[in-house]
Amino acid sequence: MGLLSKKDRKLILDPLADDNPITIQVLGICSALAITAQLKASIVMTISVIFVLGLGNVVISLIRNIIPSKIRIIVQLTVVAALVIIVDQVLKAFSYQLSKELGAFIGLIITNCIIMGRFEAFALGNGPWKSFLDGIGNALGYGVILIIVGFFRELLGSGTLLGYKVLGDPITKTGVYAFGYENNGFMLLAPMALIVVGIIIWVQRSRNKALIED
């Protein structure tokens, strides 16, 4: 990381832990609940958000001085929507299979409040390079939580990871299922995602008391 100054490094690393968009700022919860039933979906969503947020922050930052403040939210929304549509079309033309996997997430990316939040809170007031780092950092911070939640939900809910049956086969009763273990179907439903996020928040705040609000 010799490339980055100390301040720049902070932009990337802070959102990963102490200023995490999900567990500290409590943004982007809806998509975190919706798509984390599978690890793979979490990873794909993470990559898409890294791309859209990194690029979107740069675009907003470049035009920050000419955006009329009265309609800035609409301008931001247009930028995200346009970026997402372009990404969608390019994927459809050059990587059709991937675009089908992403299909369900396209709409979710546009409505992800982390993206609008970073545009509004950071890109409007900072230069393109800093905004880019901030975008990448926040997307990564979002992704880390998504992947942790996805990991536990898929493992405990379906007994698989990335589709591989790591715990054995529940129907023919091999692996741990031979000892009477059962998948917890509850884990696949959205409320359990919220509980997993809650546990992450608990662990994080127990380790770092400074994060606890009154």
Binding site: Q38, K70, A82, I86, A93, K100, A104
Partner: protein, 249 residues
């Protein structure tokens, strides 16, 4: 923000300019990528049809289609006839039947117009497959399938797909463990009447050993998607029954 950008005129001009720029950009992207996207869709349809009749490169648990660059060749090799059925039993051959848009045909039927039913006949290792494309509704959006049958309307293979079912739940209809259950499953009941295939949560047959019960095991947490798939099979494949009856004569 400077004062300049706060004036109404500036705001209005900016909005107009933004719309023009973004609109042009999107139109340009869409128009220039259109041929590629259409080609991908065509390839996908051929891959899906071949998949249903068992022409694919699956290994144990994966869903792997015939490679993009080979699909045209394989399609003309395995698919011997493409039919368009109208008025239940009037059959016409049409080499582009696979491009028929099922959604449009369904809308036509709803408006009281004629509905064309495409059916693809494939031959593999001396066996004949009848592959029907069908379309219905899942929980969030459209679900569709290509179902390969033999002349007795026993399913020989199926490929399911969806637009936006929940990942990890309804989206699992396109996984092998669900699709493979349909193989050898009967669409007709013991007395030869069309009943479709029910997606059952309570048939006590999770391994799907009973192929004549007109039921496959449902996916936990995907009730509405499963119901949608069952309803689609029932209403859409039923339309092909008159044609299959003519095969018996």
């Amino acid at each position: 923000m400077s004062n300049k950008t706060d004036s109404n005129l500036y705001t209005l001009l900016f909005a107009i300019g933004m719309v023009i720029v973004v609109g042009t950009l999107l139109a340009f992207v869409s128009a220039s990528l259109r041929p590629n996207i259409d080609e991908n869709k065509r390839i996908e349809k051929q891959q899906n049809i071949l998949y249903a009749m068992g022409v694919n490169e699956n290994d144990e648990g994966s869903v792997t289609f015939v490679a993009d660059n080979k699909v045209g060749e394989e399609f003309s090799k395995f698919i011997t006839k493409q039919l368009v059925i109208t008025n239940d039993v009037e059959v016409k051959e049409d080499d582009n039947a696979y491009l028929i848009d099922i959604k449009k045909e369904q809308t036509n039927a709803k408006e009281g117009k004629e509905r064309r039913l495409p059916l693809f006949i494939g031959t593999k290792e001396g066996k004949t497959f009848y592959i029907a494309p069908i379309r219905g509704k899942g929980l969030w959006d459209a679900v569709w399938a290509y179902v390969a049958m033999d002349e007795n309307m026993v399913v020989q293979g199926a490929y399911f797909d969806h637009k936006g079912e929940t990942a990890g739940l309804g989206a699992n209809i396109k996984e092998r463990f669900f699709m493979d259950d349909f193989k050898d499953e009967h669409l007709l009941n013991a007395s030869g009447k069309f009943v479709g295939i029910n997606i059952s949560k309570s048939n006590g047959d999770p391994l799907n050993n009973d192929k004549k019960d007109n039921e496959v095991d449902a996916i936990a947490g995907a009730t509405i998607t499963g119901d949608g798939v069952a309803a689609m099979i029932k209403s859409e494949l039923k339309l092909y029954v008159p044609y299959f009856k003519t095969l018996k004569k």
